[in-house]
């Protein structure tokens, strides 16, 4: 699947592009201006457009411009545009929307999960063709008993279906996970998200390294052990202070609690601005929804307070679109 990204070029190159590339999606172009977006969308009509509406000055201007893009599928609304959500939700062809700030790995997961809906639309069948009511196929001709095997001209065989959607398939099956969580302010659940992610990954039976890059020992404390420089195994998770070192097995999944900053480690860094639900973390990790993250021995669960805070009010909210 080809993708056109539109928005702040710096952020797209820094965060979005690597996330799409890591998921195997082909980023055809990155547009940093409305004019470039229009040109790229026209040049690559079979590419899916993922656009940050902040590219435009006002909501009205953004909606008008985006409505003219036949291949727009995902839109991101900047903070403060919540009141215009409904106006964007009715954009022709739109399949999903997010409120900034977004987690790009999650946007990628959303795009991949909706691949079935995206692909037919890209073939010019109209907006939302996969979800909307389709015209019934013509009835087969009645059999002709006098001409067995002939049956008149047969309709041409339907073209081969595009690659089936991989929704539900672990996005990183077979590959070790490298994910880091960071929050620009305290108390938003960064460490809880890291712990939850480690617990889910431990449920797959593979070694998981959970790193406290803040070196405050909070992850140890949340696991109920005394902070120590020596790596500690708790359930299926090895917890250590600092970043992963060279002796980490290549097959290990690595989860990092970066605290207030992205750390200097090659991982998919997810910004946490509000407590993340388990479902969101599962999607960030590329785990299928039905996969449950291990048992209680695999790691700690979020505190009751964190659980209460989660739910529909997430760090960014998908604009459920139905036509």
């Amino acid at each position: 699947m080809k993708v056109i990204l539109a928005g702040d070029e710096g952020e797209l190159h820094h965060s979005a592009y690597p996330a799409f590339a890591a998921a195997g999606l082909d980023v055809e172009a990155v547009a940093g201006t409305p004019e470039a977006l229009t040109a790229f969308a026209a040049a690559f009509p079979d590419a899916v457009v993922v656009a940050d509406a902040a590219l435009f000055g006002t909501p009205a201007e953004a909606r008008s411009a985006l409505a003219a893009l036949p291949n727009l599928k995902v839109v991101i609304l900047p903070q403060g545009w919540e009141a215009h959500r409904d106006g964007f939700a009715t954009l022709p062809g739109l399949l999903a929307g997010f409120f900034a700030p977004v987690s790009w790995p999650e946007v990628v997961a959303e795009v991949r999960a909706r691949a079935v809906a995206l692909m037919p639309a890209a073939q010019g069948t109209g907006t939302g063709a996969a979800a909307g009511p389709a015209a019934p196929p013509p009835p087969p001709p009645p059999p002709n008993p006098t001409a067995p095997g002939a049956g008149g001209p047969r309709p041409a065989p339907a073209p081969a279906a595009p690659t089936p959607a991989r929704a539900g398939e672990p996005a990183r099956s077979g590959r070790p996970v490298r994910v880091g969580f960071w929050g620009s302010r305290g108390g938003v659940g960064t460490s809880t998200a890291a712990l939850t992610a480690a617990r889910m990954l431990a449920g797959r039976g593979r070694p998981v390294l959970l790193c406290d890059a803040t070196r405050r020992g909070d992850l140890h404390l949340m696991l109920g052990v005394e902070p120590t420089e020596t790596p500690v195994r708790v359930g299926g998770v090895v917890v250590r202070m600092g970043l992963p070192e060279d002796d980490t097995p290549n097959s290990a999944d690595i989860v990092i609690d970066g605290g207030r900053a992205r750390r200097n480690f090659n991982a998919e860094w997810v910004e946490v601005s509000r407590p993340l639900s388990e479902e969101r973390i599962r999607r960030i990790l590329g785990l299928p929804p039905e996969e449950r993250g291990g048992d209680g021995d695999s790691g700690p669960r979020p505190t009751p307070t964190a659980r209460r805070r989660t739910g529909p009010r997430l760090g960014f909210v998908r604009v459920e679109w139905t036509e």
Binding site: R185, G186, G187, S191, R216, L221, M222, R260
Partner: protein
Amino acid sequence: MILVVGAKGGVGTTTVAAALVRALRGVGLDAADGQLAARLERPALLLSEAAMERRTQDLVDRITRRHLSLVWSPECAFLSDLALRLLRALDERVDVVVDGGIEPPPELNGLCRQVVIVSDSENPVARYHEQRLAQKYPGAHIIHGAGKEQLESLLTAIAR
């Protein structure tokens, strides 16, 4: 100078620091994430830039008269002499309240006559760091939460 330090993120450190600035009619120094300067809704100066000002007393006058906030930035570590000189001069005129976040800059440790540790008694992580901070800052005021009652008792303790 009063240093407010949090045992953990989200326990109300900035809330307490902002309340102290308002109650004491002081000046806020944001050594955390910029939230204090934003919450006070006052014009802010980067301490690293202010420290380069030659006429310190004029600058102190301006800060106190216009109720400016100050923001600590990493460059201050390299300008600690100049920055601390300005802070000392300011502290002689008005109460300076520092929002130190969870890891205050070590340069400020020797400058603060009072320390407030904000914690959460129900959170084991916060309790652990509260004990650690209490050992680091003997005699510090410890409050759990940033509610009205806690703030009033803290102001009473500080006034004493």
